[in-house]
């Protein structure tokens, strides 16, 4: 019985709104890292810009939801330009450090008491999702047999997966175009592409912007999913999780991020529920001196960290990837 609950609970998460968020974020990373070889470790920063400005437009400035969406997307383009100008000419690891630092700057600034009246400090923003709720065509609980969702959650994941599908098609079309081949060329050998007269810097910037836009959309969904936007949703680890999703599915593969997100959240939830069951109740299966209920909640992250290491060492191409596509190197 527990096994069935375990599987249905995991499946619920694997198809749910969280998986949508990470699929979107990882599609963005796929354009940047998978196809162009740009190590953007600041995807959480793009998510923060998207989520916060959509939420603040409605909740703080009283603008329309759609203005908020436009503002979020527009500012994420600005962020990509700001980040790209100093760093895209530098080696890959510099880009990694600068983007990770920028994401943290954004998170700490938006969550600060100084900007409390705009962005709500550590508690964040609420009451911005009305337009989105009103668009919900589902009025009753959606039951698919093994898994079931509340109408709002189903609307989230339904609209979310549609956006993911659009994103996948867009990336597919982009990457089979001549433009996409230039990106892959940059990843393989920047100097060769430059010698063909292409403006490498400009292509990298375009790639950074497109990936950042996907990050902003992921940010919208984080905010809508929790009906709250606060700094904890966009911590550094968020970016790391998105990378794990991408690498699990397979970088430089159109469907890599989608499969990665579903598998990642299935496994993470499975581990969480599994260790939860082991340590549950007054007389848990697992002796308390080995693992308490609180410690059990850490097991999934411990295993995830280990899995990311092993994945990168033994199967860097992920589930779907092609090893030849990943000849990225920094030095």
């Amino acid at each position: 019985m527990d096994i069935l609950n375990l599987l249905s609970g995991s499946l619920q998460q694997a198809l749910g709104p969280t998986a949508v968020v990470y699929a979107l974020a990882a599609i963005g990373l796929n354009v940047q890292f998978g196809y162009t070889g740009l190590l953007n470790f600041g995807q959480a920063g793009f998510m923060a810009i998207g989520g916060y400005f959509m939420a603040a437009s409605v909740a703080t400035w009283g603008l329309s939801f759609w203005v908020g969406i436009a503002l979020g997307l527009g500012l994420s383009v600005v962020l990509a330009l700001l980040l790209g100008i100093p760093t895209l000419r530098l080696r890959a690891d510099y880009l990694a450090i600068v983007t990770i630092a920028a994401a943290e700057i954004i998170r700490q600034t938006l969550g600060s008491v100084t900007l409390l009246k705009w962005f709500g400090g550590q508690d964040g923003l609420i009451n911005f999702q009305r337009t989105f709720v009103e668009m919900n065509p589902f009025s009753s609980r959606v039951d698919l047999g093994i898994v079931a969702w509340r109408p709002f959650d189903f609307w989230l994941l339904f609209s979310g997966w549609i956006l993911v599908a659009i994103g996948v098609v867009v990336v597919w079309l982009l990457m089979r175009s001549p433009w996409g081949r230039v990106l892959k060329g940059i990843r393989e050998d920047e100097d060769a592409v430059r010698s063909l007269g292409k403006n490498v810097y400009s292509y990298k910037m375009q790639s950074l912007i497109i990936g950042g836009l996907f990050g902003a959309v992921a940010g919208f969904y984080v905010a809508l999913q929790h009906t709250n936007m606060n700094p904890t949703w966009v911590a550094t680890d968020t970016t790391f999780f998105a990378y794990t999703v991408l690498l699990l599915g397979g970088a430089a593969r159109v469907l890599g991020p989608v499969v990665g997100s579903i598998v990642f959240w299935f496994l993470i939830t499975f581990l969480d529920l599994f260790f939860g069951i082991l340590t549950r109740g007054a007389d848990p299966f697992m002796p308390e001196w080995i693992m308490t209920n609180q410690q059990a909640s850490l097991m999934r992250l411990i295993i995830m960290g280990l899995a990311l290491m092993l994945l990168m060492i033994f199967r860097p191409q992920g589930i779907f990837g092609d090893r030849r596509e990943l000849a990225i190197d920094a030095r």
């Binding site: 510099y94 600068v98 990770i100 943290e104 100084t114 410690q295 960290g305 280990l306 899995a307 060492i313």
Partner: protein, 450 residues
């Protein structure tokens, strides 16, 4: 509702005392007695407590006149601080008052002889009533800071910055050396820092104290053990993980992502064993500070400064003078050439990992002593370590140290102008701006960037 209001008031007061209690001392942060709430909850009051933070505990200041004016400059109310230093000025019912802005003034001529406002410009405070809750204000009183005030505060913050920079420098040196010899951007370096602090916590938590001739040396032992264990940990990590990866020819970006996995793995493992709560080491928790001129410094900080300076000087001298140090620099410069001139590259890298991890672990213990241990202590400063290393020049020894001093002192001193919560933001902005103008870092060579 009332409980929430008054505790919020106490919190505001506490924070302000802490922030402004500079020429007093850290103990000024004693929570003040809860300010009396007015009988009628619908009335909004301006209230506060005037204390002289030079005294310990802060002494109430009596007989000071406070007045409140509204937008138009009309006098709304007046009060005089009582024997407990408290004053309450009712503004009116909340429905009339919410949204209005008031100016709260302190009459300086009524201050007792010998006391002055900490910040002489702050005789007026403007407050907007945002919610239906009383407004708490504070006017820090102490020695006048006329003239020298700004400089003294800068100096005091500079001392704090110096302590932090030294700890940062030890961590940064390790990161930079590992990068220099192996090319690895190690995102798990923060966990090497935490490792030292964790081992020290474990030693500290062993039952009983470790004493030699009546002297309690628990912490000294903890520091020594943490350093040794960190060194071993670094050496073992290289042997078990990074060396095989180098043998396999794993790319640098792949290795970077492996280090991210390691960071997530170790950080959660630490939390598994140490819990999420903040812990303090048992010794030297709140020593009373010495005053050197106008600056206050705790004996612990002096100890940290001296000890870490010795360690840093020793390590940099070793890198500059010894055969192994020269070999390390040769490997940093060009591994293939170093290998072909007879240097055992693998052994050099092993030593670098051991020394780098030892330095990081030491910086972790000392950091834990100054700000308390938690399982993310290293992860939280990882970006600052990166900032220091990149600012100074990735892979350079002197650059890492110089960068640490700039970042460490900047972080503290910048709180003169930016809110303390944003001090890390300022340091990270410095990093990005520095890259814009000098991408190879202050002491790096241009060709390293490529």
């Amino acid at each position: 509702m009332r409980v929430r209001q008054s505790s919020a008031a106490a919190l505001v007061l506490m924070t302000l005392f802490t922030v402004l209690g500079i020429s007093g001392n850290a103990q000024a942060a004693t929570p003040p007695a809860t300010v009396a709430t007015s009988a009628d909850d619908d009335t909004i009051d301006v209230k506060g407590k005037l204390v002289d933070t030079r005294e310990k505990p802060p002494a109430p200041v009596e007989g000071v006149q406070i007045s409140v004016e509204d937008d138009a400059g009309e006098l709304v109310g007046e009060a005089t601080s009582d024997a407990d230093g408290l004053f309450v000025i009712p503004l009116g019912a909340d429905i009339d008052v919410v949204g209005e802005t008031y100016t709260i003034k302190l009459d300086e001529s009524t201050l007792p002889e010998g006391t002055e406002l900490r910040n002489p410009d702050q005789v007026e405070l403007e407050r907007q009533v945002k919610i239906s809750a009383d407004i708490s204000v504070t006017f820090p009183i102490g020695e006048g800071t006329v003239g020298t005030g700004w400089a003294v505060r800068a100096l005091q913050l500079g001392v704090g910055g110096l302590v932090f920079s030294l700890l940062l420098a030890m961590a940064a040196l390790g990161l930079s050396m590992i990068f220099g010899t192996t090319g690895l951007t190690n995102f798990a370096h923060g966990e090497l820092i935490t490792f030292g602090a964790l081992i020290a916590l474990f030693i500290d938590r062993l039952p009983g104290n470790i004493t030699v001739g009546g002297m309690n040396i628990t912490m000294v032992t903890a520091i020594a053990v943490a350093m040794v264990m960190s060194t071993l940990f670094g050496w073992a990590q290289d042997k078990a993980l990074w060396k095989p990866l180098r043998r396999r020819g794993t790319g640098l970006i792949a290795a970077m992502i492996v280090s991210i996995g390691l960071s997530i793995f170790l950080r959660n493992l630490y939390q598994y064993f140490a819990g999420a709560a903040n812990h303090n080491y048992s010794q030297w928790t709140s020593p009373s500070p010495w005053s050197i001129g106008p600056v206050l410094i705790t004996p612990k900080d002096v100890g940290v400064i001296i000890f870490s300076t010795i360690v840093l000087v020793a390590v940099t001298l070793a890198i500059a003078k010894t055969r192994l140090g020269k070999a390390t620099r040769a490997v940093s410069d060009n591994p293939a050439l170093a290998a072909s001139s007879g240097i055992n590259v693998d052994r050099v890298i092993s030593v670098v990992w051991a020394v780098g991890a030892g330095l990081a672990g030491l910086s972790g213990v000392l950091l834990g002593m100054t700000q308390g241990f938690d399982y993310q202590i290293g992860f939280k400063i990882l970006l600052l370590v990166f900032a220091a290393v990149v600012l100074g020049g990735l892979g350079t020894v002197w650059g890492a140290i110089l960068g640490s001093f700039i970042i460490g002192i900047f972080i503290e001193v910048s709180t003169l102008v930016v809110p303390a919560e944003l001090k890390f933001v300022g340091a990270l902005l410095v990093l990005i701006l520095a890259l814009l103008f000098r991408p190879q870092g202050l002491l790096g060579r241009a060709e390293r960037v490529g």
